[in-house]
């Protein structure tokens, strides 16, 4: 009985997070990231550079005693680097015990996107949209929904090439 109740509460919590996305901008595009992955949003803090890492890993940051790596999403997507300013934010995400901060141009809002409003990304070529899980339609805008797992984990190949370069 009690177990069921607890389960219900969890389900509810799960429900409140479901279908919600934190959106942020990178240049002109708007991206969405599932809210359940997001731990917090902090302003940019001093970054300690760590050598021998791919250029999109800007370094590490002290987040209240916890040391997390920072990934510049712009560089990750091979966009030109833009100087950080007041609006630059770090989205701290947590996936499978891996914490990482994503440096983005600015964070906009949390929105709900129903599953029916999400369409799979067009299959241009296999390499193109690896990190995009789907495209969400909100009013007149479209948001590119990021696949966090791939963003974090699927870069061994990339990593190798960056070393060779």
């Amino acid at each position: 009985m009690a177990d069921k109740l607890v389960q219900d509460i969890y389900d509810q919590e799960e429900d409140t997070q479901k279908g919600k996305y934190l959106t942020f901008s990178l240049g002109n595009e708007l991206y969405g990231i599932e809210i359940k992955h997001v731990t917090e949003i902090v302003g940019l803090q001093p970054i300690t550079e760590v050598p021998e890492l791919p250029d999109y890993i800007k370094g590490i940051m002290n987040l209240r005693g916890k040391i997390i790596p920072l990934m510049d999403v712009r560089l990750r997507f091979k966009k030109p680097f833009r100087d950080y300013n007041d609006r630059t934010c770090v989205i701290v995400i947590d996936i499978d015990d891996l914490s990482i901060g994503l440096i983005v141009d600015s964070v906009s809002e949390v929105i709900s996107i129903a599953d029916s409003e999400i369409v799979p990304p067009p299959e241009l070529n296999k390499v193109g949209n690896r990190y995009i899980k789907g495209i969400g339609k909100v009013g007149n805008e479209v948001k590119l929904l990021l696949d966090c797992d791939k963003l974090l984990l699927e870069d061994e190949a990339n990593c190798l090439t960056s070393i060779i370069e």
Binding site: T48, E52, L53, P54, R64, G65, P69, L152
Partner: protein
């Protein structure tokens, strides 16, 4: 049932408390056994521990545990009260150890959320038998065992820690002693009685009370006799015999009092209130007060030590780190620049002092000495010696070495395996040792020390050593050879024993030889980022060295700046730092830079070049050279300037980065006082890098 409660704080406390008690218990038994006698304090301690376990496990409804603890408690109660001579120490220890093992097993079951369903009946029976035989030997078996048991149980509630000797006996006597006329010094004689009485009981009152101090008491004794009220377990006959032994005894009136005499008893006791406060608690209040007192003192055990959830400690450490940053933000606030604030500065200094002290304390909290882990090995050695009929002494060195709590948890299993292996495979049977001309007593040495940024734990035995040919043969059989035999160095051959599925012992014994042991050792040690190496000499012994790295350990570090980055070098590997003279610097045709230091030519590693850091200091003569040495390899690191030396908590690089790749020369990172991050350099790896 227990799984249902698995998260209950009560259960958690029970598990924790009981396992600690059991550990303590084990230690005192081991000590007693070594001394081959059970001293009174030891018996008392064991008794108390058993009593606590009994109480708490019956509270938690673990009846089998409670029953076992009860049986052991009875046994030690008897030992304590009767002090029987010629107790067979060995069999007693064995019995108690069996009990300890049973409790341990049940605790593990409870921990895993299983039912604590072990059956202790057999063991309990054996303990009972043992107790019975003890009593028989002692000739004091005047009560049937069942009766005795019940009686004993009833009494336990009166035993308090500070007064372990107090008996609360059943029989109440009233004795009036008359001395022969003209024997003189009646008061002294009365005192002698009291003095002798102390051996039998500590619950007594007598009248007149001031027999020694007051000469008039002589008169009272002459006229009215010397009155004694006492409580004892002794029978009427025994008491009668006792009093009859008194010299110059004229007359003795000894009567056994019934419980109805209680008020008189209490009254008499109350008379003594002034001088011996603890003796005259009236029955009812004694019962509750003692009970409470005992509960309190027992439940805390070691009042100076509390156990804390490690996660809370981590949190605390993070918070303190944050506070240090916040402090810096306040005291070095840009808004304050140019203001004359004497009082503020004073207060800020105070704040800074406190925060830094707080930080140091928090950092040291996590460190735990290895002593408990090492002492656990005593038990293993003892048990195995008995089973294998070997005579081995365990020598422990450097057990005060402090290691992070996390690491302790990881090295306890490997150590156990190593000690077992050393005893089982390493140390030869006694006859063999004799023929080899070694002392028949083998030695296993367990040593811990801080070496550089590592903790080095050595397990050394003086046994037969590793047999190279046999290892190779076995490796061949199991298909573990990854290289042609001829090419392998000796140490490579030895290290084969750490491969999974390797065991040279023909016979699988109870303790080792399943070919998993060494494999577990490597796995566990590697889990904390350590290394295992083995060295051996035929017939001289084997040495296994566990090198546990600095994960979360606190190290002394030298901070150096390069551009905007800060690097920390473990102070232990720093030999010296100096500003080089241009004349000492050499460059070879490949543009490798070298420096002459005291006749030695050492390579220079420019950190800014190595890690591609932007800096203005590019000329060697403007910066600083830090000479580091590790594993007999020396190199010189070039940095912009030294920032100072401080204790740092080593944190691992984030998992994400570790997954991405291994960065050469970096051992981890640490937070500096101002909240910025410094990278910790691994001197050994840097030296190799060249």
């Amino acid at each position: 049932m227990s799984s249902h409660f698995s998260n209950e704080p009560m259960l958690e406390i029970f598990i924790h408390e009981t396992s600690q008690l059991v550990e303590k218990l084990e230690q005192s038994i081991l000590d007693s056994e070594k001394a081959s006698c059970y001293t009174l304090p030891a018996i008392n301690e064991i008794f108390r521990i058993m009593h606590t376990i009994k109480g708490s496990s019956s509270m938690m409804m673990f009846n089998n545990l409670a029953a076992l603890a009860h049986a052991m408690e009875d046994l030690f109660f008897y030992l304590r009260e009767e002090k029987p001579k010629d107790v067979d120490c060995n069999s007693l220890s064995d019995l108690v150890f069996e009990g300890v093992d049973f409790i341990k097993l049940e605790i593990i079951k409870i921990k895993n959320g299983e039912e604590a369903d072990g059956n202790a009946a057999l063991l309990i029976n054996r303990i009972r038998h043992y107790l019975l035989s003890l009593k028989k030997e002692d000739g004091k078996l005047d009560l049937s065992p069942a009766e005795k048991g019940a009686e004993v149980e009833k009494q336990h509630y009166y035993i308090s820690q500070d007064k372990p000797q107090v008996q609360v006996p059943q029989n109440h006597y009233h004795a009036v002693v008359y001395f022969e006329d003209g024997c003189e010094m009646e008061n002294i004689r009365a005192y002698t009685i009291i003095h002798n009485l102390k051996d039998l009981t500590s619950e007594y009152v007598y009248y007149p009370e001031d027999i020694i101090e007051n000469d008039e008491s002589v008169q009272i004794i002459r006229e009215k006799g010397f009155e004694i009220y006492l409580q004892t377990e002794c029978s009427y006959q025994e008491m009668n015999d006792f009093f009859m032994k008194t010299v110059f005894l004229k007359d003795l009136k000894l009567e056994k009092m019934e419980r109805t005499d209680e008020p008189a008893w209490a009254f008499r006791k109350a008379q003594k209130a002034g001088e011996e406060a603890y003796k005259e608690r009236s029955k009812a209040s004694v019962e509750t007060a003692l009970h409470r007192e005992e509960k309190e003192s027992l439940s805390t055990g070691h009042p100076s030590i509390i156990s804390v959830n490690v996660q809370k400690l981590d949190k605390l450490m993070d918070l303190v780190g944050e506070m240090v940053i916040a402090e810096a933000m306040v005291t070095q606030n840009p808004d304050l620049v140019g203001l004359q604030l004497d009082n503020f500065q004073k207060a800020a200094r105070q704040l800074r002092k406190i925060t830094s002290e707080l930080q140091d304390t928090v950092m040291s909290i996590r460190m735990v000495p290895l002593v408990t882990t090492f002492q656990k090995m005593n038990r293993i050695v003892r048990d195995m010696c008995k089973k294998l009929d070997k005579d081995v002494k365990l020598e422990i060195i450097g057990e005060e070495t402090e290691v992070d709590k996390n690491i302790i948890e990881h090295i306890s299993d490997p150590l156990m395996h190593l000690v077992r292996n050393a005893l089982d495979h390493g140390i030869e049977a006694q006859e063999d040792r004799h023929t080899k001309g070694k002392p028949s007593k083998g030695t296993i040495t367990l040593e811990a020390k801080n070496a550089g940024s590592d903790v080095v734990i050595t397990v050394r035995d003086d046994g037969r050593g590793l047999n190279k040919a046999k290892i190779l043969e076995r490796a061949r059989e199991n298909g573990l050879l990854y290289r042609p035999e001829e090419e392998m160095t000796e140490s490579e051959v030895f290290n084969l024993i750490f491969l999974p599925g390797f065991s040279t012992k023909e016979k699988i014994t109870e303790f080792s030889g399943r070919g998993v042991g060494m494999d577990v050792v490597t796995k566990n040690i590697e889990a904390v980022g350590g290394t295992v190496t083995v060295d051996s000499k035929q017939d001289c012994g084997t040495t296994v060295v566990l090198k546990i790295p600095l994960t979360l350990a606190i190290i002394d570090g030298m901070n150096a700046r390069v551009g905007k980055s800060c690097f920390t070098i473990p102070t232990t590997s720093v030999k010296q730092s100096f500003r080089p003279k241009a004349t000492d610097i050499l460059t070879d045709p490949d543009h490798n830079e070298m420096i002459m230091v005291r006749g030695q030519c050492l390579p220079i590693i420019r950190l800014h070049k190595l890690y591609n850091v932007q800096t203005e200091v590019r000329s060697l003569t403007e910066g600083i050279i830090i000479m580091v040495e590790n594993n007999q390899k020396t190199c010189c690191i070039f940095a912009d300037e030294l920032l100072g030396q401080q204790q740092v908590v080593v944190k691992a690089l984030p998992n994400y980065i570790k997954k991405l790749r291994h960065i050469r020369g970096l051992a981890g990172c640490t937070l500096l006082g101002d909240g910025s991050i410094s990278l910790i350099l691994d001197a050994a790896e840097l030296a190799d890098y060249r």
